[in-house]
């Protein structure tokens, strides 16, 4: 057990190191640099900037300096902002993104599996069709369309819903909703298929034949077992939600982390590209580790057989 854990943690560190190295190489092999502009900037000014940010040194040296900084937890200075360091940006942006992400996650966790369960219990009847239509819309309509539709039809007509921006809980409702639809639909579909599988199991038939009421069978036996595979995708879903969505943050004008993933690349803001990528990788690795540990503790099949007895 301990050995397994140690191995997993070591693997996680190697993964993150690989992410750092690959991102570093890719980022520097893309043409363009942070300081070129449509301007009459003389060569000297340009060189002053390169020197200030250490970009005049050989790449190998930059890489080693960067690794040293990372170990100390310092992501460096943004090359496009003289106001905030990359650490500042993450510290400020992440809570905002995570807040919206968690709100979305809650919406998705509450309604997604419920929708899936209802669909499964009414397989091929109208509640099933309605749930699955909702799920298909959620999966296939991109969030930027949803966001725009929400602004146009909800925010413009409901006076207490702000159109965009950030500041109060009301500001977070529409973006969370727009963000929640996709994972909600995913969870619903997972739940439906997993529920259908569980409902066909022998132990459900046994329970029913023992005369246990339908509600008890569904709640105590079916839902609880069916939800396990759904939990397994939560790690990735949660990471994607809390790390921030570029599209949603842009449309709603939210000062989160999601924006930086794209703007940093467009600006060739090297430290910010590294910072956001590494930060995302760390969250993802940690989440997956937690899910794996949860699974290692209770292999559902072992448990199922025990329950079956």
């Amino acid at each position: 057990m301990k050995k397994y854990l140690l191995k997993r943690v070591a693997m996680a560190i190697v993964t993150i190191w690989a992410v750092i190295t690959i991102t570093f190489i890719l980022m520097h092999s893309v043409p363009g640099d942070p300081f070129r502009q449509e301007s009459k900037m003389p060569k000297v000014v340009y060189e002053n900037l390169l020197r200030k940010y250490g970009l005049d040194r050989p790449l190998s040296e930059q890489y080693i300096i960067y690794l040293g900084k990372i170990i100390r937890g310092d992501f460096g200075d943004s090359m496009k902002s003289r106001v905030e360091t990359v650490n500042d940006m993450i510290r400020r942006g992440f809570p905002v993104s995570a807040f919206i992400g968690l709100e979305a996650l809650l919406i998705a966790i509450i309604f997604g599996p419920a929708l899936g369960a209802i669909a499964a219990l009414n397989q091929n009847k109208w509640p099933d069709y309605i749930s699955m239509i909702i799920a298909i819309i959620g999966v296939s309509v991109p969030s930027f369309i949803m966001g725009t539709v929400f602004i146009q039809f909800l925010a413009r007509n409901i006076s207490w819903l702000p159109i965009g921006g950030w500041g109060s809980f009301a500001h977070s409702i529409l973006p969370s909703l727009a963000l929640a639809l996709m994972p909600l639909a995913q969870l619903a579909r997972y739940m439906r298929s997993s529920m259908l599988e569980v409902l066909g199991q022998d132990y459900i038939k046994t329970a029913k034949s023992k005369g246990i009421s339908n509600a008890t069978v569904v709640l105590r036996h079916a839902v609880r077992n069916a939800i396990l595979p759904v939990v397994s995708i939560l790690g990735t879903v949660a990471t994607n939600l809390i790390a921030g969505s570029f599209v949603i943050e842009k449309i709603f004008g939210i000062p989160g982390l999601g924006m930086f993933f794209i703007t940093s690349i467009n600006n060739r803001d090297y430290p910010l590209i590294m910072g956001t990528t590494i930060f995302y990788a760390i969250i993802l690795v940690v989440m997956l580790l937690i899910v794996d540990i949860a699974y290692m503790l209770i292999d559902p099949r072992i448990k199922l057989t025990k329950e079956g007895r």
Binding site: L49, S81, R82, A155, I163, G164, G165, G167, G253, A294
Partner: protein, 548 residues
């Protein structure tokens, strides 16, 4: 039992994020510490600044999103008046010596920083030298290269003591230029020339990063800055002309989605908005909506042709491309933002030596003339030995953006119909485009230039042979000579005559194909008055008023 464990773990996972996230701070709901007149609502103008400023330190600022805030919070030796004219600002008078390069500015007596300190000539000397310090690595340091020894100091070959700016006493600033500069008083209204409070900056290098340490000398002062969310300004009671300032404050949100911003404007959450989505401008224009104002802009949109490469080294081919581009249609049907067809490379709005529109003195140097274009193209093909089919391996390069794409498509189609050539379209990242232009790795590329100061020279000197933004690689000794001569004198007649000649030479050789002159459309609610837009700046709210 273990099922519960899974659920508990799942809950914990969610909870751990909830905890790590805490509740995010709500950005400034309070619009500054403005003191409204008794019984009246404070007049806070609400608008949007599309991007988080990279810096609100005048020396480090480098773009519109920085300067829009700075222009309201700082003031230079000179400033722009409502009609765009340069008038005295922090200085009350100046004297230019007979050598044409030595200026002596006398500062006003009643000028104070927002923290109450007096604004002195030492602050100006300090600010300018600081911006030129190579260790500060200011992007815009070169705006101060007009000062004697400025470039040398910035490049590390000269000493700070040789820079041509010196405070004689608290109120007297002596400035020596490298060479006579006719538009120097225009430059002193530009943000790189703004003063900073020497005491404040020396005591705290991070002074410009937060509202509570930010000290300025303009009509407004910063009272709040929630990064990436809002910037709030309040009227600066220490400003000498504060009685003319009618607003109690300005609130900028930072929101970069044009459509969302427009919805907020419609929903009454903004009093003023720029930029506007292209489709909205077209719609408002068609409706004749009085809330739309098309502001002037000092900017030109053009296509670079790589002059060093066959067949674009042939002037007839280049001219043929320029003559067969229907600019009017591009402006009216494609761009639809109130743009004006380019008549040369120098936009409208600048005055010549007689105080008249500069463009009237040069006339329309590029037109839509398909017949002439076809004729020149045929001659050009014969001279270079190129065939129409050969053009299908060339492409129009532009940075990925819908607005550039549709114009490139229109140009592609016009050149196909008029000249029979099939050019490719290629879109790349902005930074990649810049790299390729510098490397000469393109045939035709989209470019734009925004004037740094209000004088045709800011456009004309782009194409001197060693110009840093001369990506077309135009090289004409006569052109270089005319520009050099114009730059060495303050005699407006000579300068303007030389620039007119130079622009004619340029449009005869056509190293670049001008497309249109930008405009800056903005929307303001009917109760907003007194907003004015200097040609090369974002709209000013300094004298704005709101009468709801």
């Amino acid at each position: 039992m273990k099922k519960y464990l899974v659920l508990v773990l799942a809950m914990l996972m969610v909870l751990s994020f909830a905890l790590s996230a805490c509740v995010p701070k709500a950005p400034g709901e309070t619009p500054g510490e403005a003191t409204p007149a008794l019984g009246a609502e404070p007049k806070i103008l609400r608008t949007n600044n599309a991007f988080e400023p990279g810096s609100l330190d005048p020396a480090l600022a480098q773009g519109t999103h920085d300067s829009w805030v700075l222009d309201h919070t700082f003031e230079g030796l000179t400033k722009k008046d409502v009609d765009g004219k340069i008038v005295m600002g922090m200085a009350k008078e100046y004297k230019l010596a007979d050598d044409d390069v030595t200026y002596t500015f006398i500062l006003r007596d009643d000028i104070k920083w927002s923290n109450g300190d007096p604004v002195t000539a030492y602050d100006f000397e300090f600010a300018w030298k600081r911006a030129l310090d190579k260790d500060l690595a200011s992007d815009y340091a070169y705006q101060l290269y007009y000062l004697k020894g400025g470039e040398a100091y910035n490049t590390g070959t000269g000493s700070v003591d040789d820079v041509g700016v010196k405070a004689i006493d608290e109120k007297t600033l002596e400035v020596v230029l490298e060479s006579p500069t006719a538009y120097f008083l225009e430059l002193t209204s530009f943000y790189t020339y703004y003063p900073v409070n020497k005491k404040v900056v020396e005591a705290n290098p991070d002074w410009a990063k937060n509202a509570d340490t930010h000290v300025s000398n303009g009509p407004f002062k910063m009272t709040g800055w929630e990064h990436n969310a809002t910037i709030t300004l309040a009227k600066n009671d220490n400003y000498y002309n504060s009685s003319a300032v009618k607003l109690d404050g300005i609130e900028f949100t930072i929101l970069n989605d044009e459509n969302t911003a427009w919805q907020k404007y419609l929903g009454g959450e903004y009093d003023f908005l720029t930029p506007l989505p292209q489709a909205v401008v077209a719609q408002l224009k068609n409706e004749g909506n009085p809330e739309l104002v098309i502001g002037g802009e000092l900017s030109v949109y053009y296509y670079n042709l790589y002059n060093k490469m066959e067949p674009f080294n042939n002037a007839k081919i280049r001219k043929a491309l320029a003559l067969t581009l229907d600019r009017q249609t591009i402006c009216d049907k494609i761009a639809q933002g109130g743009q004006l067809p380019a008549e040369g490379v120098v936009p409208f709005g600048m005055l010549d030596e007689n105080g008249k529109e500069y463009r009237d003195g040069v006339g329309k140097l590029v037109e839509y003339n398909v017949e002439e274009g076809k004729r020149l193209f045929a001659e050009g093909l014969a001279e270079t030995g190129f065939k129409v089919e050969d053009f299908s391996k060339f492409s129009i390069l532009y940075n990925t953006l819908e607005a550039h794409k549709i114009i490139a498509q229109a140009a592609q189609e016009m050149w196909r119909t008029n000249l029979g050539i099939e050019l490719q379209l290629e879109n790349v990242d902005f930074q990649v485009k810049l790299d390729r232009e510098k490397a000469g790795d393109y045939q035709i590329s989209r470019a734009g230039w925004i004037g740094d100061y209000i004088d045709p020279m800011t456009f004309i000197d782009l194409w001197v042979s060693d110009g840093p933004f001369n990506d077309a690689k135009f090289n004409n000794p006569e052109y270089d000579r005319l520009v050099k001569e114009a730059k060495a004198t303050t005699d407006q007649k000579v300068r303007m005559e030389n620039m007119r000649k130079a622009e004619k030479i340029l449009m005869e050789a056509m190293p670049v194909v001008p497309v249109y002159f930008y405009t800056q459309p903005y929307a303001q609610k009917p109760y907003v008055t007194g907003v004015f837009k200097p040609l090369n700046r974002y709209p000013y709210f300094i004298y704005a008023d709101m009468n709801k």
